[in-house]
Symmetry: none
Subunit: 255 residues, 2 copies
DNA sequence: AATGAATGTCCATAATATGGACAAATAAGG
DNA sequence: CCTTATTTGTCCATATTATGGACATTCATT
């Protein structure tokens, strides 16, 4: 396995293994992990043992592995110390109330975005399962909004690195088309996504800018297709007001 | 540095570094990390680079490091579940050991609380409570602790909705008195309950705070009256340490 | 412009992680 | 109940990796 950074192969491998456990549908057994990771038995044992020693995973009574409390604790801290999430909360609630639809907040991590908040259109008590979900740049409203707020050259670089996977039957998988969309987003300041990330759901997305005018996050208003009847204006206007407010709180000053 | 598991020194070191970052009051600079970790400059750079490459940390515009959202993605599955119980378990066991008494963990459900965990003390003592039992706000240690951690206005709203039922001959059924108790809890950070929920059992209660500083749960240390001989300090100090630890794991940062 | 401090990188070497081979435990078959 | 097959777990010589002293670069200060 290649290490993205020189001198960290074992760390990279171990985190990759943690990711496999995290992405599994059900808590995996040793044999399943051996299969999916392609690691040799002794290596797998050592990596699992070190993950367990650090409390990042736990071995259940049936020998299968699940995420450990240490990881949960770290993740909660990561959420808590995220300034954008804190500064955006109030505005997102308002956007939800104004549109009556579900609102997402996503921040970049490597070549993807990760949802760090979700305000449901109906009140829900427990933490939404979408928080922490990775979402591709090319197939989501937040992704395309984010691309459109990047410096053109950087956006092109990033687009070149994307896998352009087909998520739904509506997903655009053509880089040239994505570049054109990105250009349009740059002009409009928002994007409309037609079921490219989830069948039956359309959304409007826009990016939040930091004090340097660079995109720091993106938000989207998701609407079930059957309910998508209001004029565009009714979704876009509150959305643009919302991102303007949050960007301002982040220190952005429109020039 | 010794590695807890053979053949994982570098992983262990890197996670330890991640932990240092997570425990810092404010996002640390490179110099601060060099100081606190004791690592040499090149090693520190490599470990930070690999953490950043994996998205586990992020370098802010002021060069300081903070936890990355990839952690949220890795912990997604575990975050969605009700994880307070898991996060608290270890700390509750410690509290039981330190006080030698039975410890309860309760979360809110409408205008009541529900016990979601109970750590029994060594000596078998008959106590009515079991996991899943509902417990009133006004007559229990956990309930009054929870009220005292709420925003004053919200607490008053909630008190107005309570039925103030007489549970034992000691139960206070006066809302005005409950308001006064709530105010005291707010100042003290804990509450003492004298048999208001169960005859012959007194308890000390305190609330667990989430990342927004709002109460997420409450814990209590219950003591049979005949054995309640130690000074208050001996119960309260471990209790307060315990809630501080759990709150911190939930993402709460004392300001 | 000169000096000092902080930040960043290189690379020979020491130390670690690796995985083939072996052992133990468990399940299947006679 | 014993033998064989399969799965689970461990050891350790070796190759590969991570390490940190030394050096280079950048930035701040005089």
């Amino acid at each position: 396995m290649k290490a993205p950074v020189q001198g960290t192969q074992s760390f990279s491998r171990t985190i990759h293994l943690l990711d496999l456990i995290s992405q599994s549908k059900a808590p995996p057994s040793l044999a399943e992990l051996k299969e999916s990771s392609g690691l040799t038995r002794p290596t797998l044992y050592r990596l699992l043992a070190s993950l367990e020693a650090e409390g990042l995973i736990e071995q259940r009574s049936d020998q299968r592995y699940q995420l450990g409390v240490r990881l949960v604790s770290l993740a909660r801290k990561a959420l808590a110390e995220n300034d954008i999430r804190r500064l955006a909360k109030e505005q997102l609630l308002r956007l939800r109330d104004e549109t009556g639809e579900t609102v997402h907040l996503a921040v970049p991590s490597r070549e993807e975005l990760i949802y760090i908040d979700k305000i449901e259109c109906e009140e829900v008590v427990r933490m939404a399962s979408t928080i922490g979900t990775r979402v591709p740049m090319h197939s989501s409203g937040v992704g395309k909004a984010y691309l459109g707020a990047m410096a053109p050259a950087e956006a092109e670089d990033l687009i070149r690195q994307l896998d352009m996977a087909q998520i739904t039957s509506f997903t655009n998988t053509d880089r040239t088309v994505l570049s054109a969309i990105t250009q349009k987003v740059r002009e409009d300041g928002y994007v409309f996504d037609n079921q490219e990330n989830e069948e039956g759901v359309v959304c409007y997305g826009a990016a939040i800018l930091d004090d340097m005018g660079k995109p720091a996050a993106a938000i989207s208003v998701s609407i079930p297709l059957y309910r998508h009847t209001k004029p565009t204006e009714q979704y876009v206007k509150p959305l643009l007001t919302c991102i303007a407010n949050i960007s301002q709180r982040l220190g952005y000053r429109p020039s």
